[in-house]
């Protein structure tokens, strides 16, 4: 069923928190409403559930990939054109460690950034109802609502003290 996005705007964070409480009380699915702010507020300030993430897996995976590729790269390139220096082994382990370290870290950082975007659900160019005043300090409570319940949700948002509601 098609869903409508409704946004309630609040000047006071307290009113935003009240709107979130009212939506919980109306048995809305927590995945269907969210609070939007232009400033990072303390976790749970609006009674929202604290988002869980798996970001820490990304750098570990990235590091493993980078380490493996680096070992293959450094070993294979030396073996491809063996240079015997003073009777020492072809594979120069100390030099390999330096390149391996850098490639491991590079891959870990790149995967972390990919993880940050993935866990932040970005990119998302179809964000639903939004108002540019949110980045000026207003608190937005956005609700994804099934057709037919729009008026009910708008009433909940208005009762919590919304200065304005809008649909998208």
């Amino acid at each position: 069923m098609a869903k409508t996005s409704i946004l309630g705007l609040y000047e006071d964070p307290e009113d935003g928190a009240k709107a979130m409480d009212a939506l919980h009380a109306a048995n809305m699915d927590p995945n269907d409403f969210d609070v939007l702010t232009g400033t990072p507020y303390p976790e749970g300030a609006f009674g929202e559930h604290v988002p869980q993430h798996r970001l820490f897996r990304f750098p570990v995976f990235g590091a493993m990939v980078g380490f493996t590729l680096a070992i293959v790269f450094t070993a294979a390139t030396q073996l491809a054109w063996p240079i015997v220096t003073g009777g020492k082994p072809i594979l120069a382990v100390p030099a390999m460690l330096i390149i391996t370290y850098e490639l491991t870290m590079l891959s870990a950082v790149v995967m972390t950034v990919i993880g940050i975007l993935f866990e932040s659900r970005l990119p998302n160019f179809n964000p639903g109802a939004y108002d540019t005043r949110i980045t000026e300090g207003l608190i937005g409570v956005v609700v994804s609502v099934e057709e037919g319940r729009e008026s009910e949700i708008e009433a909940i948002l208005n009762n919590a003290g919304a200065m304005e509601t809008k649909r998208a």
Binding site: T39, H53, A80, A95, V109, S120, R121, L122, P127
Partner: protein, 459 residues
């Protein structure tokens, strides 16, 4: 004590976006000025490429001169970003907030500039590609990973990529603000760059975790980069003054010293040019100066130990080299200037609160540090090469030519121009960090006095 006014979010947006949304009158002239030097630099580089390295002062036995010195100098400056941003973020230092973006930006542009110098120095720059990329597949010939000249691009490439991504991730919320304040092509550009940022709790949570996680990942890279740059010299046996085990930490701490000083210079300029008195305040300069006293003293300790240990062996060539580096003209003049500029004058001045709180004095002392730190690198590289060989008839000296001076000027203009161009499109002070500071800052009344207090979430 907070030395500025507390602003609301609209005012924060207006003041911090004054460079990105409006064009200050001086901006065009400044960009034009630096662009002229940059273009001149490119022309001179073209002449050098055409004529060869004979147009520089490089000659036997000194083949590493001002270019390599400037390369090490800019790699050093690049350590500002992670020092300020990562360490202060991890330690939750509240005063970091207005400083982080500029420091990260300085890292990116100074690394780009640093990377240019091996190319400029190569004489035949197209040959650089042989260092980094595999070539001549028919014979299976690959870059020699045993060479420090391969370690350098690996380390700097990693640091540059990581710093750029770090900068971009921290820029996302501010790109959302810019998207909301613009129209037309700018709105489309910021909309695309912000990736649809909305500012929900998940995104803010990830932004916080990202700051800490990326800081923790970037710190080991930051340490490795200047260590590896130092190994360009330290793994070379047979050059007096280079083959030293202390070089890696010595270079890292020196890089932090010059990098943080460069951030001070930049902060003073930002405050003057964009009139960000409410954000970059004397208390920030005071905090940076305290940090610099610690860093400079640690660096000075390494300088003393480096000389002391080289003398301890009582080996003739090492003693002769140190005698030349410290007591023989013109090196002696540079050595005294280097110590005065990099340590004695600024650190003595920073001991006084009146200096630490004076933006003008902090600006000039930070400039002095970087004059001194450039000379330090010059004194490590050039005198060692001047007496590289054991026979007197192979000794020589070196003086940079006008071409090298022009390319050095190019490097400063290149960084300055890029910073100005960035500032025309993006905020140099993180908006969301400033706003977060407002949410978490309050005033506490204790007895009959009121003090500023910062609240922290329990981890």
């Amino acid at each position: 004590m907070r030395q500025g006014r507390q602003l609301d979010e609209i005012r924060v947006n207006k003041e911090l976006l004054n460079g990105a949304l409006e064009t200050p009158a001086w901006w065009k002239w400044a960009v034009l000025f630096f662009a002229t030097i940059v273009v001149t630099g490119f022309v001179v580089f073209g002449i050098q490429t055409n004529k060869g390295l004979g147009v520089t002062g490089l000659s036997r036995p000194v083949f590493w001169g001002a270019y390599i010195t400037t390369f090490v100098f800019w790699v050093g400056i690049s350590h500002a970003g992670i020092m300020i941003s990562a360490i202060l973020r991890l330690t939750q230092a509240e005063w970091r907030r207005p400083v982080t973006r500029a420091a990260e930006l300085l890292t990116v542009f100074s690394l780009l500039t640093a990377l240019s110098f091996p190319v400029i120095h190569a004489g035949r720059p197209w040959r650089i590609i042989y260092w980094i990329f595999p070539y001549d597949f028919a014979r299976g010939l690959w870059p020699n990973i045993r060479s420090p000249l391969i370690w350098d691009p690996a380390a700097i490439g990693t640091y540059l990529t990581g710093s750029t991504l770090f900068l971009y991730v921290a820029l996302l919320p501010d790109l959302g603000v810019l998207r909301d304040r613009t129209t037309g092509w700018r709105h489309a550009m910021y909309g695309a760059l912000s990736l649809g940022w909305r500012g929900n709790p998940r995104q803010w949570r990830l932004q916080t975790v990202a700051g800490v996680l990326l800081s923790a990942l970037m710190l080991p890279i930051f340490v490795s980069v200047h260590s590896i740059v130092s190994w360009d010299f330290a793994v070379t046996p047979g050059v007096e003054g280079w083959n030293s085990t202390i070089f890696a930490p010595y270079f890292v701490i020196g890089a932090v010293h010059s990098g943080v000083s460069a951030v001070v210079t930049m902060m003073a300029l930002m405050r003057w040019l964009w009139k960000w008195d409410n954000f970059i305040r004397p208390e920030h300069f005071d905090a940076l100066a305290r940090l610099l006293i610690v860093v400079a003293t640690a660096w000075f300790g390494f300088t003393v130990v480096e000389i002391l240990f080289s003398l301890y062996t009582l080996e003739g060539p090492e003693l002769a080299f140190r005698d030349m580096q410290i007591f023989q003209w013109p090196w002696s003049g540079m050595f005294v200037t280097f110590l005065l500029c990099a340590f004695f004058i600024p650190v003595t001045m920073w001991l006084f609160k009146s200096v630490r709180s004076s933006i003008v004095l902090m600006f000039w002392t930070s400039i002095l540090v970087n004059i001194g730190m450039w000379l330090e690198r010059f004194l490590i590289i050039v005198p060692s090469l001047a007496r590289k060989q054991p026979f007197v008839y192979t000794w020589g000296s070196y003086q940079p030519s006008i071409v090298e001076f022009t390319m050095m000027a190019w490097s400063f203009a290149f960084v300055a121009m890029n910073m100005l161009l960035f500032a025309r499109f993006f905020p140099l002070i993180p908006l969301f960090e400033s706003k977060e500071s407002m949410v978490f800052t309050t005033e506490m009344k204790i007895g009959r006095t009121t003090i500023p207090a910062v609240l922290r979430e329990q981890e």
